[in-house]
Amino acid sequence: MTARRLAITDVGEAAAHALRSIFDVLNGRTACRWELVGDPADADVVATSDFDTNSSRTHDARVRGKRVIAIVESTDARARVQTPYILMHPFRVMQVLSVLDEIADDLKHPELRIASNDGPNPWAFAESVRALSALSAPATWYRAQDRNGAEIIVTGNLHGCACEPQLFEQIRSGTTTLGALAPALVHSVPARYVRPPMTELLWHNAITASAALAPWLSARGSFRLVRWPDFGSIPSTRAQLQMVAALSRRACTPPELARATGASEPEIHRLLNALSLCGLLSVSEYTLADRSEAAAGTSVGGVIHALIGGLRRSLMRVS
Amino acid sequence: MNNAARIPQKLASTATEQLAKFGRDTPGIGLAVLSTTDGFEVATYKAERAVSAKMAAMGSSLQALSEAITREAGLKAARKLIIESDNGAVLALGINECKPAMSLVVVADKSASLGHLLWSAKLCCASVVRAVNGS
């Protein structure tokens, strides 16, 4: 069994003690054998509460290819974290096990992880929005930046946002990537900033982020529409309309959407990502009943099919 | 019943009198409703409120459809629409010679003679036009 080394550093006494106790319980039950070491320099993984990206210790750990587990003790702190591995104290044993096994798996392919650490995380902004939406007492303002330092400011209740017009155009076209939101002190919103509707910001961010499914969505999931997006305010394609119509009628898995509409996998993923981030999608339990309902619902009578085809050819909307 | 913005009260009263005369002089009249072309009552004869409101609206729809089909058929202005049923008739006439233009809907039972009904209704409409234009 592979052995990995974990160092716990700059963690509150109670959290550190709890983590060590869980470690004793888990060792032997994890995917690899874990050893606690004192010096982060000797570790493969560093667990720390000092996850400020400007901290030299955390920066050093990341630069040397070590994985960092952020130890947080509040949901506010959790919202500020930009590392994929997070443990919140009080810890749950299964949560710790899951994170350790995930890191162990990740450590088997160090070259892939280091490559992705160099580039921007396309989901940093979206995941921070999701974390923010779960907070019961958010700050008044939050700020995110792209790699050029252009900022977008967002209200803590996620009801409003503001940024330079050029940045919003880049977000719409997917030519920039926003980092995670962090609390900010905003005295006034510059007059030159535009204030696009929040749903439009989230839609454009999510639909351009990646052709892969968002990390919080499962390819094995079955999805149902909660509410239609306003395609009068955001661009739409025929494939998107077809997929949303299908999702409004019944729960669909990505393969079922592909079969029902002929949409490509990237098209399906991008749409599901955008619907999800905008709160328009629910994940349903996929049952045999759904399967037969889905099968029954996808067949359209021959006559209506011909009429629809003719109508579509006549209207020829640009999409 | 009457909206002064559409038809002055004096005219509405005159129109009511004309409808009453039409009803008295023409056997078989069940009810009659004079309305604006957009379906508001101006005057009624023997029509309860709920019925007259519906007749005013439906009469204006019938008149408008008559004029539309007449246009599409390449004919000149529609004058009247006659609906015959087993036990009576409905007559809808357009009154376009005054401002505002109006519609007259008449419901008659089968004792009414269609010819007499049409002639009598025409006279009624002419007297309404005189009253409106003369004021």
Partner: protein, 185 residues
């Protein structure tokens, strides 16, 4: 062709919402109108009002005619809505977002549509509402949610052909997904 069922789309909604304009935007021919002078300017500041129906049509390449009907908007012509919606395969409900009674209109018209059996596929277009986060749109979405309806509702300008086509295209997608009268399946 006589065996082909008709494809009947109905545009409905309150007065001034743009039904006549929408039909004119996509009809092959100049629509048949039954507009007359509006004598109630206090209630609706419009020169004219539809008192029977608007009629337009789209001819498909196989000779099938898609009939486009517009209903009157005012409540006293509600009987025409009932007549015109019979047999409709799809309904486009247009609302005027600038009016204070936009939400009550939404409620009234949806109530009538839901009574149709079977209920046709329905798409909602809201005009004159500024930005996509306009309060009227937020309230309308909330109202749909309260009614338990997952219907498409889009901010539109029916003077733009593209916007009307979006509404019809969405209706077509709903029909493809199995919405609408089962007799057409």
């Amino acid at each position: 062709m006589t065996d082909m069922p008709e494809l009947k789309l109905v545009f409905t909604g309150p007065m001034g919402a743009g039904k006549t304009t929408a039909i004119a935007a996509i009809s092959d021919m100049a629509p048949v109108l039954t507009d007359v002078a509006n004598s109630d300017r206090a209630a609706f500041d419009k020169d004219s009002t539809t008192v029977a129906l608007d009629y337009g049509q789209l001819s498909l390449d196989d000779g099938t005619v898609v009939r486009l009907y517009g209903t009157p908007g005012q409540e006293r012509f509600g009987f025409m809505r009932t007549i015109l919606c019979r047999g409709a395969i799809g309904i486009i409900l247009l609302l005027d977002g600038s009016r204070d009674d936009a939400i009550s209109s939404l409620d009234d018209f949806l109530g009538g549509i839901r009574k149709l059996d079977p209920m046709p596929a329905t798409v909602i277009g809201v005009g004159r509402c500024g930005s996509s986060d306009a309060p009227v749109l937020v309230r309308a979405k909330h109202h749909l949610q309260q009614l338990g309806l997952t219907l498409p509702m889009f901010r539109v300008d029916v003077r733009r052909r593209e916007d009307v086509l979006l509404l019809v295209e969405t209706l077509v997608c709903l029909l493809e997904a199995g919405a609408g009268p089962e007799t057409m399946q």
